[in-house]
Subunit: 241 residues, 2 copies
């Protein structure tokens, strides 16, 4: 409207790394806030101080941007996982840490987790992505915990490992979502304890280590009674008529 007809446009050029970093940071924030489909590329571009079209110089398309964002987040998350875990000993403690950490992640980044579960994991080519590989390494450690528990004789050896893995992760996810939906409040510590307990002990009632098995107690008592009787009567041990 005002007379800036022949104004030369300003163009700022930064290093490739810096641009990629800016765009991914902006994308992560916007995706976290609005989800995937409700996040217009224009929002991301604006927040990154870039024009829409420029994004396509660094990312194939919107989906590729999402994948890279999640990948980046995942890497940061898992960076210290192995190390932390190696500092914990005992099957139960290690399982508990793994469960606790997984729950905590969902609790702290529900939006990004949602993107992962809604848009990355169900995609056809998921098993070709880097996130898949990261995840594989992550869950491999869980399988390893179980395997060493079996070797130590603490855990049953007749259970399909993958099923156990699926049970643990499935439980965590399902449980966290129902909580996030607003059923009760969230206590990762208590929940982690309960899940470990349930996975290890199962639902069935366990017979406590019985003080004395009834049939044996009976036989013992009879033997003692007979002993006493014999001691008093001088019997030779043949049953009384």
């Amino acid at each position: 409207m005002s007379g800036n007809g022949t104004q030369k446009r300003q163009v700022t050029r930064l290093s490739r790394e810096r641009r990629v970093f800016d765009i991914m940071a902006a994308a992560r924030a916007v995706f976290r806030e609005k989800g995937y489909e409700d996040a217009p590329l224009s929002d991301i571009a604006e927040r990154a101080n870039v024009v829409e079209g420029s994004i396509y110089r660094y990312f194939e398309n919107k989906r590729d941007l999402l994948v890279k964002v999640i990948e980046d987040w995942y890497e940061g998350m898992l960076a210290d996982y192995g190390q932390q875990l190696s500092g914990i000993s005992g099957t139960r403690n290690r399982l508990r840490y793994m469960i606790w950490r997984h729950m905590n992640t969902i609790h702290e980044e529900p939006a990004l987790c949602n993107l992962m579960f809604q848009h990355i994991r169900p995609s056809r080519d998921y098993s070709q992505t880097a996130v898949f590989q990261l995840n594989r390494e992550y869950t491999r450690q869980t399988l390893e915990i179980i395997r060493s528990g079996i070797e130590a004789g603490e855990l049953r050896n007749d259970v399909p490992l993958r099923l156990v893995r699926d049970m643990i992760y499935g439980c965590i996810e399902h449980h966290t979502w129902t909580y996030l939906r607003g059923e009760g409040n969230f206590d990762p510590d208590a929940s982690a304890d309960a899940i470990v307990d349930l996975v290890l002990s199962g639902l069935q009632v366990r017979v406590p280590a019985e003080p004395v098995r009834p049939d044996i107690a009976e036989r013992l008592e009879k033997a003692v009674a007979r002993l006493e009787e014999m001691a008093l009567s001088g019997d030779t041990g043949a049953p009384a008529p």
Copy 2:
């Protein structure tokens, strides 16, 4: 192009029910084939022999159409569930049936399940939908199975019910997806057995019902030995030096 300039357009009018039925059937097919975002309304309209705009006379928008499709499918699915379940007795058998059925559903309609998990369940207003209510009733029956197992003394009574529910459903879903992704082949029967077993028994090694507790066996043997000795010696029962 060819000279049909003033051709009167043909309009067919059907009952409201019939139109809704046609559109939902077409939508279910197209959604199943292409997912949600990759299913253009034009495809659905074409398959239903309707023009795009007409869909909006019966459904608020694309999402509403999806919700109604899933609702409809869910209702059909759960119609006989309660009845089937009431024909099965025993905690283990009932749990197994519930698990088997859930797995089977995912196996037979992976695409529709995906829509449910990806687009319906995570939505903000999920807990206001009819599907949510249906699902609630569905999982309530699972809680009921467990509750009656507890009452019968078969199951532990110190376990949070919701956690058990989450564990079962989470396990089924996670497990089925990893299978559908192509890791191994799918055997609902074997898997259902394994899941029931794991949920009931847990991971930990169970001490088998010992034939005789060692300490008791020892005492028994000693008693018998003493008996014999006494019978031979005419001892009064005081321990031998």
